[in-house]
Symmetry: C2
Subunit: 242 residues, 2 copies
């Protein structure tokens, strides 16, 4: 069953967004009576059928509300800005794994320089990838994607989370499951992932000073995108629904 | 510290493989006395220093053996052959995560048709990616990469593993951690991942008949490559060293 984003429903009916209408009618050639999944983009999903399709768009009748498959834990990933298109991969995988928010962070060893206009285009692209991934994985809500933030902003945001985990290749001893044993009731978890060059000892110390706990992801050095996906998967398996 | 594959060591010295010599001398411009990591490709790693570099190659003196970072559990991933370059991503991530072997499998819903010659080129490419990933993640051994096998061969191989896990979107109830509680002592684990279209109920039933246990990876539908990486990460976190 294909999924489509809709306008706010009225009386059990909803118009598909313009681009979604085109895709449903011109590419997939759906006809009245065909089943589809309607998503409001804000967490709700319905089994629906196409009621009308024409030049002015498509309208669906909502038949039955479906589960939005939102996990019971909020996982926010603060990702040291990586090179090239790694963020594309990260946002797609984090959407499937159920993360709530992706916030790129400029850390000392980031090699990518972003200007404000590129940053905005980049963010729109990431939001589009997240929305498409949410459709494909049957999740009612795409994760929020922030514009890149700086170091000071990160240190302000971290203490607002119940639990902050910082996978670090020089951390030894505490594994993700040990962190779970220490704080199994946490429902708002932040994970901080270093860029390609890793986090500096000074960055780690400053984050620990505001409450972050370093964890190890094993003795092999994971690439930054592998670390992000692995940490999110483990957090969701331990605290969430995976 | 950069890593290089070497010929078998003799008297505490070893020649770098020809391509590795070129990379060390021409690209990285290492000089005698510079430190490097030497790998025999079979699990052993050494801190070493460049002894000699010339037209006929490079030779290193081995100073101290390093940990090969091989996990205490063998994880074999049987991957339903996916489209395009997803196998590249999968083999790279499985190497970092510590998997022992990747075996592509032709399942009913695979859409890719492989001929024997393409298959051989593809396999060489995957082996190269695995070897490069092993260098980068400080792992002494790259996972073995098989040529694609068929369904009959899969059913013969599965019972040879101690534990066979088959993540399936229609499985409910048993999560990876439940499988761990049932068989925490397993040291040779197979994971079977369906292709883009998933596994058929008949395939799942046949695998269960030879001892496979279905598990859920949560209510969101993971793409095939996300499922492979997630299942390997969870297996390594539960049974291994991650």
């Amino acid at each position: 069953m294909h999924s489509f984003y809709i306008e706010p429903p009225v009386d059990g009916q909803a118009a598909l967004l313009p681009e979604e209408s085109r895709h449903a009618l011109k590419v997939l050639r759906l006809r009245p009576g065909d089943e589809l999944c309607a998503m409001d983009g804000d967490g709700r999903r319905w089994r629906a059928e196409l009621l009308y399709g024409g030049e002015d768009g498509a309208v669906a009748r909502l038949l039955e509300e479906l589960d939005g498959h939102e996990p019971p834990v909020r996982v926010t990933v603060y990702q040291g800005v990586p090179k090239a298109d790694k963020l594309d991969l990260i946002v797609q995988k984090l959407t499937e794994l159920g993360a709530a928010r992706l916030t790129p962070v400029k850390l000392e060893r980031c090699v990518v320089k972003l200007n404000a206009r590129d940053g905005q285009k980049r963010r729109e692209r990431l939001e589009r990838i997240a929305r498409e991934a949410a459709k494909q994985c049957n999740r009612g809500r795409a994760p929020a994607v922030d514009a890149p933030i700086g170091w000071a902003e990160l240190l302000e945001r971290l203490p607002k989370h119940e639990l902050v985990l910082a996978p670090w290749e020089e951390a030894a001893g505490r594994r993700m499951k040990d962190a779970f044993a220490e704080a199994s009731g946490a429902r708002d978890i932040a994970v901080v992932i270093g860029p390609e060059g890793g986090m500096t000892p000074a960055e780690v110390a400053a984050m620990e000073a505001v409450g972050a706990r370093t964890v190890t992801l094993g003795p092999r050095i994971l690439r930054t995108e592998t670390a992000a996906v692995t940490a999110a998967a483990l957090a969701m398996a331990l605290w969430g629904d995976l």
